[in-house]
Structure formats: structure tokens, C-alpha cells
Amino acid sequence: MIPWPMPAALALALFLLGLLGLLARKNLIFVLMSIEIMLNAAGLLFITAGMRWGNPDGQIMLIFVFNLAGAELALGLVLLLRLRARQPALNADDSNLLRDRP
């Protein structure tokens, strides 16, 4: 089997790529996608830990990570659709007031 630091390093690299996308992109579609990348990297780390200790808890946590990702993405996409009616560019920097422009 593969030594566990290898998949852990892959999880770290994917998480950092997701974080980079989250910090650098302005478009809310890409922000949501970066969050998905980071969640998936966390899932990979759970699987790696499950392999390291040889028990099923890693895969069980992955199921809950998928649950969270599904719920989060459903709400995020609905918010995205509603925001687009007001602000067609979907620029994250334009929606920083939490209310209508005065």
C-alpha cells in the first residue's frame, strides 16, 4: 500500500489550490467551486486517516462531508440565482454591504 504521507500531501495540495481559488477569484461561481475543492480535499484526508488506522471511520466521515457539500451547494446555488437578478456580474466584491445600496 501507499505510505500515508503521500495522499496526505495530495490532500494538502488540493486544499491549498482550493484556498487559492477562493482568495483570487471574484466570480461567485468560482468561489463556490473552490469551496467544493476544499471540502473534497478534507474528504481525502479523512480517507487517508481511515487507511492509516485501518478502520471504517474515515469513509463514514466522507459520507457526512458529502452530505454537507450537497446541502451547502444547494443553498449556495439558490442564493447565486437570486443574487444574479440584482447583480448580473456576480462579483463578490460588489455585494459587501449586506443590504441595498443607500
Partner: protein, 160 residues
């Protein structure tokens, strides 16, 4: 198994890097789906066949396709792609790359230690554990999904 892991890991990294740098969201999403399929292969080589199947069926097959449908509903045009190109001009990436690299160096120190047990964990074991000792967590997950459903329904109405 080991060469398969490295190939799949390289594919996952490459497609993820492509996904976060595209201007067209549909292309980015398709690259991300490819990355998820590669991750499924990685899970399989790590001795988690059930997780690999879930990754392909649930994540790439359901969640990401939902994402793709919504993006297609947004009907983005060429103007959006041109605007996106100005948003991801090179200087935008400098500070995030520095921050992420610093964070990565901090986190990378955590990853060393003794080799572990490393065995294949069958779907049967996962199911038995999930529906006996972790049953409370399953109920909590169902409540989370219900909250997501009600929230999406409420926000999706004409005048929430």
C-alpha cells in the same frame, strides 16, 4: 496499485489547477468533474472502494451535475468571459499565492509519522459501523439535508 495512485494524483492536481484558472465556468466545472473522477481512483487505491463509488456516483454524478445545470441556467455569454479575463489578470494572484504558500509550509510540518495499518476497508464494515454505533450522526445528517431542502425551497420562491 502504487503507479495508479501517482497517475491519478497528478491528474487530480492538474485538473484542479486548470479548474480554478478557467474563464468559462462550464469548462472549469468539467475539469473539476474530471478531478473528482481522479479522486475516486485515488480513494480506490487507498483501500476505500465504497468511498470511491460514492465519489463518482454522488459527488461527480449528482452534486456537480446540479452545479452544471444551474450554471447553464445562468446563460453566461462572451461578455462574461471577457470580464472574467480582466478579473483574473496576473497581479491578482500574487498576494493569494504568497498567503497560501505560507499556510502550506505551516501545515506541511504536520505530515510525518510512522506507517500505519493500511488495509482495505470493505463497504460491509462501513455499513455496519454507520448503522450501529454512528446512528445518531446519520439522523443529524438527515436533519442537515432537511434544513438544506427547506432553505432552498424558501429562497427559491418568488418573494421570499
Amino acid at each position: 496499485m502504487i503507479p495508479v495512485f501517482y497517475v491519478a494524483a497528478a491528474v487530480a492536481l492538474l485538473t484542479t489547477a486548470l479548474a480554478i484558472t478557467r474563464t468559462n465556468p462550464v469548462h472549469a466545472l468539467l475539469y473539476f468533474v474530471l478531478s473528482l473522477l481522479a479522486m475516486g481512483v485515488v480513494f480506490f487505491t487507498l483501500g476505500a472502494p465504497f468511498a470511491a463509488a460514492l465519489e463518482v456516483i454522488v459527488y461527480a454524478g449528482a452534486i456537480m451535475v446540479l452545479f452544471l445545470f444551474v450554471i447553464m441556467m445562468l446563460s453566461l455569454d462572451r461578455a462574461a468571459a471577457a470580464r472574467e479575463k480582466t478579473w483574473i489578470a496576473r497581479p491578482v494572484w500574487v498576494v493569494p499565492i504568497i498567503l497560501v504558500a505560507a499556510f502550506g509550509v505551516l501545515l506541511a510540518r504536520l505530515f510525518h509519522g510512522a506507517p500505519g495499518i493500511s488495509r482495505v476497508v470493505s463497504p460491509q464494515e462501513v455499513g455496519v459501523r454507520l448503522f450501529t454505533s454512528d446512528l445518531a450522526a446519520v439522523e443529524l445528517a438527515s436533519m442537515l439535508l432537511l434544513a438544506g431542502l427547506i432553505g432552498a425551497f424558501h429562497l427559491g420562491r418568488k418573494n421570499p
